[in-house]
Amino acid sequence: MNTETRELPMTLEPRANYLNDGHSIRSWLLTTDHKRIGLLYMVSITLFFFVGGAAAAMMRLELLRPQGGLVTSALYNKLFTMHGVIMVWFFLIPSIPTVLGNFLVPLMIGARDVAFPRLNLVSWYLFIAGGASALWAIIAGGVDTGWTFYTPYSSTYANGHVLAMAAGIFIAGFGSIATGLNFIVTIHKMRAPGLTWFRLPLFIWTIYTTSLILVLATPVLAITLTLMALERLFGVGIFNPAMGGDPLLFQHLFWFYSHPAVYIMILPSMGVVSELIPCFSRKSIFGYNFIAYATISIGVFGFLVWGHHMFVSSQSVYAGMIFSILSFLVSIPSAIKVFNWTATLYKGSITFQTPMLYAFGFIGLFTIGGLTGLFLAALAVDVHLHDTYFVIAHFHYIMVGGAVMGYLGGLHFWWPKITGRLYCEWLAKLAAVTIFAGFNLTFFPQFILGFMGMPRRYPVYAPEFQVLNVLSTAGASILAIGYLLPLAYLLWSLRYGKPAGANPWKATGLEWKTSSPPPRDNFANAPVVTEEPYNYDAQAAELSLEENSHA
């Protein structure tokens, strides 16, 4: 990659930007700047990521031997609960929306900030308060229900700090709702002149849809956890059949939120990939409208399929058939996206910079995750695979292979914009390849284990499963190195990285038209949009013209 040499000064410090606009702790903790709030989220979710990762590491070590022996069964229950709760609510769901979304939404639409900057800061404090409550529940003794809090584990038979954990998720949930609301209003009301809906970057479409899901689904989770607490504290019979409740109601309500929550995690990643593929293929995106509509329809269809988590829960067979068919349908818009990204690559001038490696990783791993989801959506096959490692492998291909790859790809793509610095490219490529290899070695064996019948959530297993489990643990240690590498070289780049210039990737999009790091108010002059998004063809012509005139 050539660094920008033509117009921009290579010095950083003298120019005022959002990073040197106040250095006190107060200027960070009371900031209403969407860019600084994005960084607050970045630091917080990174901490949670490594807490959740530590729990996973303990589990993989326990599973090295069939008879276990590293941790007790009770502690193992707490480890997988902690891993799930932390990773889902305190890393994956906030990851792209609150870090990259906060940083990029106003920049991409040419606004000075989000619609409600103070509410944005409140969201972060709610997130931190919720996270603190969840961490307290873990430190005080832990929760052993699994991240799903199924009754009666979480009600009649609960031992542990279920209510503190649920309260943490409840509080953080209100942060999510406020963030969603903020983005919806921002995208509706604050687009630059000329930036019509169908000129928006596809990342904005995905953040918009994700925000709708956050606003519509999160309250249901809050109510569900409240009902659980009411039953537990006051003996109100809601889920317990002995008190007149319905034993499956909890699962219906929980998955009404938690299936769409999968799309909260994966849609923003798809948005990132839709930015990366055109940039590193130097081509306009193929089928922009189809991708935009597919985004919305994934969001809506996501609400119609939750019963596929309940095929063997004694849900009625008729309902199972409906949910099975609807689950197959949701694969159509996902496939549209994969085909369109692939078609964008066709005859493109592809370069293999770090963000693009993550985009390729996303497409391959998401496709495997999605296709194995079809196995699980089939009623009869699910009877065999339900609650086995096949399910674990499937959703990790979606959430780690998909969502985390997208987050890392986006982080590497916009890091020069966020910090004004370039990271060490060869180390970053090495980390991307390490993560891809470690991920597959960790989770591919789990497909086979699950297919052979190894159940999830047990600290011990039959001896014939050992070889594949050892492979999986070996993969996890490679994956851990892969995740620690970016932490090291990205921090290093903050101090020693080369200045990035405004547009190191020669990308289109308004966020690249301002300096890096951007000034406090984002743009020196309010931008006006006159062209279609991803106009790389026109840009290529322009660049070659400029080069000729320089020669």
């Binding site: 519509l216 249901v220 319905d246 499956l248 109601l249 219906h252 009404f256 609400f303 119609l304 939750w306 019963g307 309940m310 004694s314 849900q315 009625s316 067979v317 008729y318 309902a319 409906i322 949910f323």
Partner: protein, 93 residues
């Protein structure tokens, strides 16, 4: 909006909601057979209307707000309909 403070109206509505809550609890202690459920749902529908009309002042809002509201009810309808596809067709009770 340019009119006298609505504090009284809000307090009155809040009182009405609390009254209906008491009614719900009271009705639960009387055995009405299947009408217990009907009574509870009717009371909660009345509460919803109070909130929409007096707290959210939905009648004075722009069509965009109505669309947002309708979306909420639409998704609630999805939740209700698909959950009922299980509850109403189970082979067990």
């Amino acid at each position: 909006m340019n009119r006298e403070p609505a504090t009284n109206r809000f307090l009155f509505t809040a009182g009405a909601l609390l009254g209906l809550l008491a009614l719900t609890v009271g009705a639960a202690y009387v055995n009405l057979g299947p009408f217990n459920t009907i009574a509870a749902l009717t009371i909660s529908a009345a509460k919803t209307v109070l909130i929409l009309v007096f707290f959210m002042e939905i009648r004075e809002r722009s069509p965009v707000i109505w669309v947002a509201l309708a979306t909420g009810f639409f998704f609630f309808g999805i939740m209700f309909a698909l959950a009922m596809s299980d509850f109403l067709t189970r082979g067990w009770k």
